[in-house]
Amino acid sequence: MRSKDKKTSHLKRPERTQDVLIARMLASFEERFGIDSKHFHAYRLFTRSNDVWCSSLDAGKAEFPHVVRRGLRLARVFDFSVKPTTNAVQLFGHLVKRNRIDLDPDETRLFLKGETQKIEAPRDATDGFVAAFYKGFALGIGLLKGENLKSQVPRSRRVIG
């Protein structure tokens, strides 16, 4: 057994039904980022595996053959944490009230490359997932640990040039 598993092996694995995963995601969005769950009432939330997805109400209920996917993936729900996607933060970032970090142009460049960097985090930001911003626009998710910010931009979206 890996050491990480040893640490958590005494904890009971949370339930993973659709309702539970969605409730955990909404609670995490509210607690970590201050996003009121009422903002998602206008959409349909559903799960695929451990992911919570979001679509318009009509797109959520439309029945068609050979559906590949609907809407946009909001978050991955792990046993003991919830990780919002870059796309979700970019779309709903304007609702983020806490654990937000504003980056300057140089920091933004590194963030878009997917790198880890030392930053001066605001006092109210705590270790864990944070929303990174540039000129008021939400860039995506970073993982804050002390003064290190690790970009969570997926490889396929990174801007290297």
Binding site: A62, F64, H66, T108, Y134
Partner: protein, 313 residues
């Protein structure tokens, strides 16, 4: 320039066809092979027009006349590397490619089908027009192209899409009379995009034009069946071949004579009417309402667009 004079890279048969279309090859061919000005479209799903323009003011973008969300930039820029592109605030899209959805006029809350949607430039433009509400079916038959489509839907923040993978021909059967609007940006011989990629020439031939026209005939009928009474179908291609443009629309009009080809008013675009005949074959006179966009008359790729309405009764 005579079609017999060899233009580097372009097949003799293609040049002969352009000449038959009445195009002056000395003017038309250089324009066809020259890259048009770069254009981008503001994605209003992510931010409002003014705040994006403010962020991009250093590019000195110039609005086009037919769509107040589309802008030209001077010189060649790496627009795909901009933070604003990463954020999904802009979509880099050729100016001509923005025309079909401008003509489609999507509205919030509607049911809309994009029958051949990859890579998603027009799909994301439709979603923005719908303000992420209603239902947008983004269909794509090629599994290879779906990754590009979903990537662009994600970057643009589209929530009202359902991506399906099946031949567009199926929609006439499975969703008869269902959609308010349909975009059929049909697979075509892509003659209008030669400035971007000469790979088109690898598959181009007179036979391939006939083969594609046959596919388009089936697709346009399927799209028409899937349309509600009173609904709008926009048919577009990025090719000049009359068989794939006026020929395909004439095929629909022969089958459904009651359908209406609406005249297009494209502000600021020097477009040409559809051809009335090709190689001795007369087209339905209503195809004159189609708009042909040539790169020597408009700063953009070659395109052809038709707006067809299904009557209420």
């Amino acid at each position: 320039m005579s079609a017999k004079r060899r233009e580097p890279g372009l097949p003799q048969a293609m040049l002969a066809r352009f000449e038959e279309m009445g195009l002056d090859l000395d003017v038309f061919v250089p324009a066809l092979l020259r890259l048009p000005s770069q254009t981008f479209r503001i994605n209003t799903l992510k931010a409002d027009r003014e705040s994006v323009l403010d962020a991009l003011s250093y590019l000195d973008p110039e609005p086009v006349e037919w769509n107040d969300l589309v802008f030209r930039v001077k010189g060649r820029q790496k627009l795909g590397n901009l933070v604003e592109h990463f954020l999904g605030l802009i979509y880099v899209q050729d100016s001509s490619s923005t025309i079909p959805v401008t003509v489609l006029e999507p509205e919030p809350g509607e049911r809309i089908l994009d029958m051949a949607s990859a890579p998603g430039s027009k799909t994301t433009q439709i979603a923005a027009g719908m303000q992420n509400s209603g239902l947008l079916i983004a269909n794509e038959v090629s599994v290879k192209r779906i990754a590009a489509l979903t990537g662009n839907l994600d970057r643009s923040g589209v929530l009202n899409s359902v991506v399906t993978k099946q031949p567009g021909q199926a929609y006439g059967h499975i969703a008869t009379g269902y959609f308010d609007r349909i975009l059929l940006d049909a697979p075509c011989s892509s003659e209008g995009t030669l400035s971007r990629s000469m790979r088109t020439l690898e598959i181009w031939s007179e036979n391939s034009i006939i083969r594609l026209a046959n596919i388009q005939h089936a697709l346009i009928l399927s799209a028409y069946y899937a349309l509600k009474p009173g609904g709008v179908l926009v048919y577009s291609t990025c090719t000049f071949a009359p068989e794939e443009n006026e020929g395909t629309v004439t095929h629909l009009l022969e089958r459904f004579p009651e359908s209406i080809v609406e005249p297009l008013e494209l502000k600021g675009i020097d477009s040409q009417p559809g051809f009335s005949e090709w190689r001795g074959e007369d087209f339905d006179p209503r195809v004159k309402n189609m708009a042909r966009i040539f790169p020597h008359l408009h700063d953009g790729e070659g395109f052809c667009v038709a707006k067809i309405r299904k009557p209420l009764t």
